[in-house]
Amino acid sequence: MREKMLNIGNKKWFSAVFWILLLLIIWEISAIVVANTKRIPENILPHLYQIIMAAFSGEKVSGELSASQAVLTSAGQTLLRGFLGFILGGVIGFVFALLMKMSNLLGKMLFPYLMLIQLIPVLGLAPIILSITGDINVSRVVIAAILSFYPVATNTLYGFKSVEKEKYDLMYIYAAKKHEIYQKVLIPAAMPYFFIGLKIAAPMAVTASILVDTLQGDGGLGCLLSQSLKHAMSIYTFWLIVFFSAFIGIIISKIIGLIETAVSPWKRRP
């Protein structure tokens, strides 16, 4: 019996279905409770069907756009920035990890400060970045990159450090040049860790890009979010954004997972 349970538990489709169902059930139960106790339940927890209906309703909520259209249009801007920031952050993170690995001195000097950059709130950073770049949209990309590079940097660095001594010894014997050691040993060995970093950074990049939308109010999910939260339009727009951004987060991490298996065939065990 237990055996059987375990087997079912390890079926891929079951896991997905299980979790989705579990979430839906919890959500709906809570929604019913909320609906019975609150005056305006949709502000707290609407029923799922209401959100779905809102997604497909053609009613104009903002300008000439329906809720879904508004979300998608804004998402276009936001995700483009988020994507650019994520790529930039990933690259910077990787490069930083590489630099810190290459120079122990630099690594020891810089590492604590990398963490500090993370801590400077966007509010403090934004005006400075803006005065450097002179353009609000470039600033947004840069800030999204700053907010997402750190997980990539730490995880990749950890990956570099996880390479066994024996592998170094081997390359040492061949008198491999530094760049060859990096190219042939360190970088491939750090790849799985780099991908963990990306997976952690992806939602941060989404969050960051939504956050930086609100540096100035010209469009993007962040602005739509604060408007809909303010009840300036249908509150369902807000719920759509919540679902949409979670969805994007999952999709991105799935895509990263796919890329990971694509570039690491030795892990594909039959």
Partner: protein, 346 residues
């Protein structure tokens, strides 16, 4: 709990008439259920609480009026042109309380502070006097039109990428028109943009009393600010006296709003839409929406934009900390802040 609440409210129905705003404020303050957003919006409320010798504590309201709706805040801050509409009306996003809610008006309580103005940096004003005057002239024209035709103005805002529903936009336009054309005493004003001495002084005085800056230097400077340090009436006068012909030094200008684009700023959108800016010689006026983390004072100060819309208090505190900004026109002539409550709670 619902029914119980109803019975108490009917029982106290007759008594309700006699309740003064003082009673209401006292009770709300005692319960710790006075709400405001903070972030520079709270001084009028503080002044009001102080006026009745109450402790100056308040709860933070988030973006929504949910706290008011679920009674975690019983005396909630609201802007007449925005939150109040949402509380009363039952269009999308509204709470639909209609006229069952009542409110205390800051103007009536004598603690009104002035809100939306137009400002720029002192250097900019000095170097581009014609530009500044021309910009004011065209903007006033836009506001004038908007005040007279709020419905059309709302429509224009709606088309300029507003993210506010149409119904709410129209409500806003009506209410904003009132703020632009009525003063703190409730009297009609004819001149848009007028920097009323008394009202501005009252704003600054309240600000001095309740704004406490952690930076000791800035705080001292703030306390010593006079109206003349933060405003310049010459451009307003020049615009009022002008025949509409200007020789603008800078043909492309921008103005950053204090919040996301909506009818709160309908004057500028109307001026843009009707070509008033073009008429005075601008090639392009860029209306940059605000409401973001880059405050309008910062944006004007670091020259990302030329003009900005902010509140007198923000302008004063910015100047106190070293910025060199100056108010050139006062668009809202009275405070838009009210404290809304459900009578059945009192």
């Amino acid at each position: 709990g619902e029914s119980q609440k109803e019975t108490t409210s009917t029982a106290e129905n007759e008594k309700k008439e006699e309740l003064t705003s003082k009673d209401i404020i006292e009770k709300a303050a005692k319960d710790g259920k006075v709400g405001n957003w903070g972030l520079g919006n709270e001084y009028e409320v503080l002044a009001l609480l102080a006026k009745y010798d109450l402790p100056t504590d308040f709860l933070s309201q988030d973006f929504t009026m949910d706290g008011f709706d679920d009674d975690s805040i019983t005396l909630a801050s609201a802007m007449t042109y925005n939150e109040l509409g949402l509380v009363k009306n039952d269009y999308e996003g509204g709470y639909g309380y209609k006229d069952t809610v009542e409110y205390i008006d800051m103007n009536d309580e004598g603690v009104a502070m002035l809100e939306d103005n137009i400002f720029c940096s002192k250097d900019f004003a000095k170097e581009n006097p014609e530009t500044v005057a021309a910009f004011l002239y065209a903007s006033f024209k836009g506001w004038e039109y908007a005040v007279e035709n709020p419905k059309e103005a709302a429509q224009i805002c709606y088309e300029y990428g507003s993210s506010v529903s149409k119904e709410h936009q129209e409500y806003m336009a009506d209410e904003v028109a009132k703020l632009v054309s009525t003063d703190t005493k409730g009297e009609k004003v004819s001149d848009i943009g007028n920097m009323d001495e008394d009202a501005m002084k009252q704003t600054l005085d309240i600000a001095k009393k309740y704004v406490s800056l952690d930076d000791a230097d800035a705080n001292e400077k703030f306390q010593n600010l006079t109206l003349d340090d933060i405003r310049d009436t010459s451009f307003y006068e020049k615009a009022q006296a002008s025949d509409g012909k200007f020789n603008v030094e800078k043909k492309k200008v921008s103005i950053q709003l204090k919040w996301l684009p909506d009818a709160q700023f309908m004057g500028y959108y109307v001026a843009l839409d009707k070509g008033y800016y073009k008429e005075v010689g601008f090639e392009d006026v860029n209306i940059v929406s605000g409401g973001g983390d880059i405050a309008e004072t910062t944006a004007v100060n670091n020259n990302t934009v030329d003009f900005g819309v902010t509140w007198e208090t923000n302008l004063a505190s910015a100047d106190a900390s070293g910025m060199n900004l100056v108010e050139i026109a006062q668009i809202f002539q009275r405070s838009g802040l009210v404290l809304v409550y459900k009578p059945e709670n009192y």
